[in-house]
Symmetry: C2
């Protein structure tokens, strides 16, 4: 675990968060600055810095994250109205925590452009 | 191929688009209504209706899409400044073509919230 990684600390339980889902590969918790009635971060347990640091060995993991997004949306009953999955890579896209994560937003109409 | 699927027709070459990348699994082309200097759609050749229709057998494919996103951003030299990958599921999120696709946006600072 990189010593200064906020999400590694959340995953290790060293920093409190409102975790809504966990399994062997990922954890999902409420975004502290929610932009929609449902706004969660889906974070792999494996520390991967950015989208550009993904290897083909991580392909299965990324697919799993989308399985989890669908499951959360279904279980929390916002799947049918719709949801958006957003991944930001590097500062120009707004990435501020250097542990790859996927925003899951729903519960309201989502507008265009996406930022 | 579902007869009325716009993206299946683009992938089959029946409708013209500005394709920037293709391989055995996916095709990427310019969004006809671009929201950033770089705005591409990465579309699997396999017809999958929405994110909710993904099965675990598609996990590897979804990971591959993120590999392709990184490769396009790298090759077109907007990776370092940053890029965003956006997937919309169902109408409330703005999905309007019923063939799963991933928006890749870059070339400008991307704002928050993401729509």
């Amino acid at each position: 675990m990189p010593e200064e990684c906020l999400f590694c600390k959340i995953l290790a339980g060293e920093i409190q968060s409102n975790i809504i889902y966990r399994d062997d590969l990922v954890v999902a918790f409420e975004d502290v600055n929610p932009q929609a009635p449902h706004h969660y971060l889906i974070v792999p347990r494996k520390h991967i810095r950015t989208t550009l640091d993904l290897s083909t060995a991580d392909n299965e993991l990324i697919g799993h994250i989308y399985q989890v997004a669908g499951k959360i949306a279904h279980d929390m009953e916002f799947a049918e109205e719709g949801f958006r999955v957003v991944n930001n890579c590097n500062e120009g896209a707004g990435q501020s925590v250097w542990h790859i994560h996927f925003h899951l937003l729903g519960g309201r109409d989502l507008t265009w452009p996406p930022g």
